[in-house]
């Protein structure tokens, strides 16, 4: 069974602070996705990383894929209340995506 562990489980910060959340596994994935999910909605795809060591930036969000393609991190600079949500990572292999349990981020104004 491929497991993805996300940490921290919960994170509450003030607007303007920086943060990093992590996604770790003992398995190698062909690609890794990050999603954001808001209450009552389905997850929304933020980014896909494919190559070990890859770094992608999406405005204030920076995503990194580990060299061994087993782990990933998401860094948010100058967090805003609109960043509040559940951040999920998902690893892809053999046509199947395995999701972590997510990090619930709350950004207070």
């Amino acid at each position: 069974t491929q497991l993805l562990e996300q940490s921290p489980q919960f994170l509450s910060i003030q607007e303007g602070e920086n943060l990093t959340v992590y996604c770790n596994s003992s398995s190698v994935f062909s690609s890794l996705q990050w999603y954001r999910q808001e209450p009552g909605e389905g997850p929304v795809l933020l980014v896909t990383v494919v190559t070990g060591g890859e770094v992608k930036k999406l405005k204030r969000l920076t995503f990194q894929f580990g060299d061994a393609r087993k782990d990933s991190s998401l860094h948010i600079t100058a967090a805003q209340p609109g960043d509040t949500g559940l951040y999920l990572c998902a690893g892809g292999n053999a046509g199947k995506s395995t999701f972590g349990d997510g990090t619930t981020l709350t950004v207070k104004p």
């Binding site: 993805l4 062909s30 690609s31 996705q33 999603y35 009552g40 909605e41 389905g42 997850p43 929304v44 795809l45 896909t48 999920l88 998902a90 892809g92 046509g95 199947k96 995506s97 395995t98 999701f99 972590g100 349990d101 997510g102």
Partner: protein, 115 residues
């Protein structure tokens, strides 16, 4: 264009009833996935279709769960003789092709409550 839609959004069933959950994927998307999401957890894979072919159903919890996609578009997840432990949000996702299968577009989910 329209995103993935699911119906109903909410379903309350008495234990033992059968339910059918519908998913309309994005038009032209080849791959379709069903997930189960329990409160406070990430989505768990149930099954996967490529066009009308069900390629993987390893995540279906029991033989009470059945999914179909007869014409390679709309899909239905059926749960027979519902049990309380079936209460969860059922998410459907689609992707453009098998090459991009992991980049999935999700519907809003159906919240199933079994009483």
């Amino acid at each position: 264009g329209a995103g993935v839609s699911q119906s109903p959004r909410y379903k309350v069933a008495k234990r033992g009833q059968d339910v059918a959950l519908r998913c309309d994927p994005i038009s032209g998307h080849v791959s379709l996935f069903w997930y189960q999401q329990a409160l406070g957890q990430g989505p768990e894979f149930l099954t996967y279709f490529q066009n009308e072919a069900q390629l993987d159903k390893s995540g279906l919890p029991s033989d009470r769960f059945f999914a179909e996609r007869p014409e390679g578009s709309v899909s239905t997840l059926k749960i027979q003789r519902t049990q309380k432990e079936d209460s969860a949000v059922y998410l459907c996702a689609s992707s453009y092709s098998w090459r991009n299968a992991y980049e999935q577009y999700f519907g809003p989910g159906t919240r199933l409550t079994v009483t």
